[in-house]
Symmetry: D3
Subunit: 237 residues, 6 copies
């Protein structure tokens, strides 16, 4: 029934290649099917003004899409002179998600910026960015711990994200672009490795949904995040 | 237990004054406690390029906050030269929410722009904007129907929104600013008059939550939206 | 002869509702006929760099119009990415006008920002903004004096403004929008409570005028400002 | 008494060199003392959208200052990314002033853009720009008439401008920079060759003035504009 | 003598992986040592206004750098709100270089946009972008020819680029970052497969050079471009 | 053969009028035929952050064109909201060129900004800007030396620039606009008074060139720069 022939609860193949770029303190290229996102983590010894002197650390994120990551070329945001509303929404989401998994006292007064740049898009780029972003963050924190700059591990539990939606009347896991563009209802579920929820965003563009349907999607999301967390652990072991 | 002395499932007082400005095709000043939002609906005989010639209508929204709507003065976005990320996120949310309740075929090829400007803020401005925005939209559509420009009613079911969250360990309905700034978990629930969900956005800034907690908040939200829809109906009767 | 049926030297009804918003140190909603402007005054313990350390205070103003304050919707300046030329001109005028009535030594080294946001427009918005802006300023200064932060009153004489013009060949007081859009010659007169001039801006878009006509308009302006100052005093008594 | 040793009612030396640049349809370098402004007029066979098809012409103006026209270097507006409030105010004023002297029916459906760029500033740049801008406009219109594109002369009466103010308690004509920076009250007076008023802008930064003082300044302005119009006529004879 | 141990006239290893992304009409990841640039070519059936209706085609380029392509993180240009001067300079250079190798009549009235995004930087990114950009362009044109949309090959001769400079007093080929940051004189040489010059940019930041030195660098550049053209041909065979 | 009737190796007439504006520390109006550029040099006691405390000076440049410097009016960059790519490229070039002739230790920790504004354009504006910019710089440095603020002369050798190109198959010196717009190959050559090269930019828009042709143009450039340096010396003697 799904365009890709996948089962309703079947993820696309997941691969995570760490160390994809040499300058960043942590980096990976994550591939969820044909969605490819390059994630890098940068450590800096400064924090935003509003927490200066607090002893707390900060994690933030930026998101971008290369102009031809998509089927038709999109205008380059740097040339348009501003980030679009969608970009701003997504990078705020990634930042909140990653922060939820960080013990900011243990991190100490420093900032880690996670850049997520979509090389190729086929649906679910924000979820791939969160999942891959956490891997880049994990690698950067490992470097801090190895150097003795951080003593107690500030990353207690992995953070990963997956999309689910109602496609052709059925709840499905991990929507690719053909499904995403048809689904009336879809959502992003951000969870921890131990199964807690961090953020749920369900939206029905021009449609509505029931509490029952929401429950079914949550169950699918728990399965998907479980598989993603396993991939994160394998990549950073 | 709540700073305002309200019960856990008690909304703030709601009032909706229609016709607050004379030029707009529909307008109201909605007050949810100390949160006051002016909503106006503008009808135009043009639609965005991507639906030109389709026969379908469009509903969109813009959101703003007067500089001194808040406790300390915020920089005016027009002077800063761009809308902040929060503003963009909120106005996209309002637009999606209102469109979910519109039969775009019945509306015909015209655009209605709903402007929501916060006069005074005390938490929950985006929910007040959606609830009041629907009233302005309802009044504008009434004008179209009265003039015979629209035959079949494109607004089948009211749309309203409420926030809920975990405050001091307890699920509470309709957070005001003191609660909002303390709550680790909170969400916005957008629903129809008949109890269907349109959008759910739950977020745990620096925290996590369980499926059980999510269920409790959904139950509170159903109660709150019910009361808001009653107020909408009374104001537009 | 006037579209509204008013006499040549008759103002529209004036009302000033103080305390319209709760956060600002001073606020009012001023209504000059169908022109409604919300004015708020914000006190901050900082001054612009060019007077830092001088012991002098500063008063500045910003002006905005809600998108649907007018008969057809105007583009939101925050979304356009900049304030238009007309907006910039007006807010500079308001700032100069209010500063002319302030003893900046008595105010002490602090800044008061007066925000004037037009809720509904029907001609004369800049004059209403100045007149209402002074009321907000007065209320904010009262708060400073009550708290003992300011000893000697820095507001010696009220500041108010009114427009006059040549409509259908006749000098008229307080133009509303139908008159304003037809008048070849019109001007704004900013004066003190004791009848001194602060600023005169007379302009003949595509026309000319004589010194005699200018004199007649000045006489009308003196009458109008007198009535506005009486309303200011009543509102802040 | 004046820093320059001039009499109270004495203008600075005026010179107007026409044809200063070769590409523009009309151009001049006007010098009012040490204030030097290059004015060019450009004719285009298009008009702004709001008068398209009306048969009417349009005259507009833009104003700029070279970064080192002043005593200390000002930031280049092109590099700052926007025109400052003062620039916008001035170029709107120049446009209105020039339009007041144009028969837009006789001009026909075309646009003339007058660019006024300050090469060296010593007070009164906006008045010099209006006076020189009219000369550039006159030369461009002459070219249209010579080519038979315009039959009836659309420039019936010259337009010129001068500043006056209260300096050291005395009304003075044509303020230079040392006077301008000290004067509590000053104004710009735009008039026609036949002595009619087009625009009056009097302002008292941090001060006030009486109707008597205003009258005295008007008398000075009439004298100054008379001399400027004579120079305009000599330059374009 | 070189930090990398290379001979004076030795290029870094070159690799070109075609088809790196699936949506673009042509794409490759080019690696010149540790400089990695993703190049994509997009075909569109529209041309810039200035050649509309001329029957001629157009080739243009855009250039970007991911924030952490470099040793320290650079601010994202989309978030800064504009492309920096260096970016603008480089993308104009790439466009001119590629157009020099295109028969725009044979291409027909269509536009090809080549996007060059630096994934990892180690000196010479603009040269890598031109060399890889030509490969992406070649692949996109192949697709047009295969589909019969273009009959006669518009790409007569490959275009490639290399940098040379004076490092530690010696002329060297293909500067990497440690050399580039030390070299007083360096230049970019863009040439065709048959050895003709397209563009030469030699610059001595804070230094000077002689005609003899320029000749030596040109000889090195011819060697380097020869090797790059061989790699281009192998990749697109 | 040349539209102007000049010999292949003949420059246009050169004139340099120093002291063209009174405020700048150094200024000149340089005319290369019908290309007229106003150059001013501003001395400031601050340097960019990246050299603060180094004891080194800095020289930078900005470039602009008045809207009607050209045959058809160009949009004012201040009003367009940003400097175009061509402007940015040129001003970076001017800055690099001038810095190459400066002993930054001898200059001491101060910044000189050279503004080059094109009053009238007829080809070769960037070369005229560099040549005239050096004169303004020389005059400003003279002032510093006369005041004893700088002891050892930081300007050892003049800097001048000229364009050459292949026009109608022949190498020609100092292209004017009619030649520039036709030439397939042209370049800018920046040299010192003693004949050393600072920067070479040769470009073939839609064409190619040989090493022999490049040599011929270099020989022409040496002749042209020689004449320009003589004019610089005469003007600043």
């Amino acid at each position: 029934m799904r365009p890709s022939g996948r089962d309703l609860s079947e993820m696309r193949p997941v691969s995570i290649e760490t160390g994809f770029t040499k300058h960043a303190e942590g980096s990976c290229l994550i591939k969820i099917g044909d969605t490819h996102v390059l994630c890098t983590a940068t450590i800096e010894d400064r924090v935003p003004p509003f927490i200066k002197g607090s002893g707390l650390g900060w994690v933030t994120a930026e998101y971008g899409m290369l102009p031809r990551a998509t089927n038709t070329r999109m205008r380059r945001e740097a040339s348009a002179g501003k980030q679009g509303g969608r970009t701003v929404e997504i990078q705020r989401l990634i930042g909140r998600a990653l922060r939820a998994g960080v013990d900011r006292v243990a991190l100490g007064e420093r900032q880690i910026t996670v850049d997520c740049d979509v090389i190729q898009a086929d649906g679910g780029t924000r979820c791939a960015a969160i999942t891959g972003g956490w891997v880049a963050l994990r690698l950067a924190v490992n470097k801090l711990m190895k150097a003795g700059d951080v003593i107690s591990d500030p990353l207690l539990d992995p953070v990963a994200a997956v999309s689910c939606g109602i496609y052709a009347g059925q709840p499905v896991l991990d929507l690719d672009y053909p499904e995403d563009s048809e689904a009336g209802v879809d959502g992003n579920f951000i969870m921890t490795g131990s199964g807690k929820l961090i953020e749920v965003q369900m939206s029905a563009e021009g449609s509505v949904f029931s509490r029952d349907q929401m429950d079914q999607l949550l169950t699918l999301a728990e399965k998907g995040v479980g598989e993603l967390v396993a991939a994160q652990k394998a990549a950073t072991a």
